[in-house]
Symmetry: C2
DNA sequence: GTCTATACGACGATAGAC
DNA sequence: GTCTATCGTCGTATAGAC
C-alpha cells in the first residue's frame, strides 16, 4: 500500500545531492523523485534535517568502508598514505556529500558512527606515533586531510600550484613530524 | 537624503552574524538594523551574496592584520606558532565570521585579498621550509589550521581529548616535518 | 496508516510610485 | 534613495480523503 520507503527516500536525496548539488535538495524535489507529495515525507522523517542525517549516516559508513579497504593488509605508513588518498578521492567524487558528513548542523549526539568510520585511521596512526600519542596523531591527520580537501573542493586555497603535489607534500610532512615526535 | 550607508549596512550585517549567528542574517534583519526597508538594500548591494562578500572582505583584512601582528618581529618558527594561535583565536571568537571567509559561494575571482591576508604566513613558512618549498609548506600549514579549527568549531571531531593539546601537537608535528623536508 | 490538498509564515528578490 | 506591494520558493503544519 505504501508508495515509497525510507530507504528509497534517502537514496533519492543522495542522488539529488550528487547529481544536482546540495542547493537543489528540497523536500519537494525529493518527494517528486519518489512519486509522492512533499508533506508525505514528514510521516517518515521528522523534518529535513532528519532526512539529511540519514543520508549522512550512509555516507559516513561508505567513507569508513573505503578507508578500511585502503588500509587493508598494509603496514602503518603506507596504510596512512593510502587512506589519505582514498579520503581525498571521496571528497573529489562527491564534494557535497563530503560537506554533509562534516555539516555542523547534522552532528549526532553519540559520535559512535564517526568513531567507527575513522577507526582504521586511529589504528594506523597509533602505530606510527607510539601508544601515548595515537589519538593526537589521528586527530592531527584527520584535521590535515579535512583542511586540505576543504580548501580544494571549496576553491578557497590561494591556489598557486597543482593540488596533487601540495597534498602529497602536506601529508608526508605531517607523517614525518608525527614519526619524529614518537622517538 | 540617505538614511544609511554601505559601511553601516556591512557593519550591521557583521554584528548580526557575530551576535545572533549566520542563520539569523536576513535581508530584512539587516534592513531593520539600519532603519530602512529590505528592498532598499538592493540599491547598494546587488544581492545578499554581494553584501556578504563585503563583510567577508573586511573579515579577511582583520584576520590578515592579526596574523601580521602575531608574527611581528619574531623568528620564523615562533612566528608560525604565534600565527597559528592567532588563527585559532580568531575562529573561536567568531566562528560564523570564520566560516564566511572560507564560504565557497563567496569566493572572489581575483584571490588578491586572500593572498595578502596570508602573506605573513607564506613568509615565515618559506624560511622554515627552504626556498623551493615555501608555497607548499604555507599551503600545508594553512590546511592544517583550517582543518583543526573547522573540526573544533563545527564540533565534528571525534573529540576525545582537549582541543588545546591536540592543536599544539598537530601544529608542532607539521612544523617538525616541514623543517625536516627542508634538509 | 498513507498520502493529498491546502495553506501559513519567512525568505530573497523585483516593479513602480514618490 | 526609499517606500509599498507583490512574486515565487522554501520548510512545514493541518485537515481530510482513501
Amino acid at each position: 500500500m505504501t508508495k515509497t520507503s525510507d530507504a528509497q527516500i534517502v537514496e533519492a536525496a543522495r542522488l539529488i545531492i550528487v547529481l544536482h548539488g546540495a542547493t537543489r535538495l528540497t523536500q519537494r524535489a525529493v518527494a517528486a523523485a519518489v512519486g509522492v507529495q512533499a508533506p508525505s515525507l514528514y510521516k517518515r522523517f521528522a523534518d529535513k534535517a532528519a532526512l539529511l542525517r540519514a543520508v549522512r549516516a550512509q555516507a559516513l559508513a561508505d567513507l569508513g568502508a573505503r578507508l578500511a579497504a585502503a588500509a587493508q593488509g598494509q603496514a602503518p605508513a603506507p596504510a596512512a598514505m593510502r587512506m589519505a588518498n582514498a579520503f581525498r578521492a571521496f571528497s573529489a567524487e562527491c564534494p557535497d556529500i563530503y560537506r554533509l558528513i562534516f555539516d555542523p548542523a547534522l552532528q549526532d549526539a553519540g559520535r559512535g558512527a564517526e568513531r567507527a568510520a575513522l577507526a582504521p585511521f586511529e589504528t594506523a596512526l597509533a602505530k606510527i606515533a607510539g601508544a601515548g600519542q595515537g589519538a593526537s596523531a589521528a586527530h592531527a591527520m584527520l584535521a590535515m586531510l579535512h583542511g586540505l580537501v576543504r580548501l580544494e573542493i571549496d576553491g578557497s586555497a590561494p591556489a598557486t600550484g597543482p593540488h596533487d603535489e601540495a597534498f602529497r607534500f602536506a601529508v608526508y610532512a605531517l607523517l614525518q613530524g608525527i614519526a619524529q615526535s614518537a622517538g
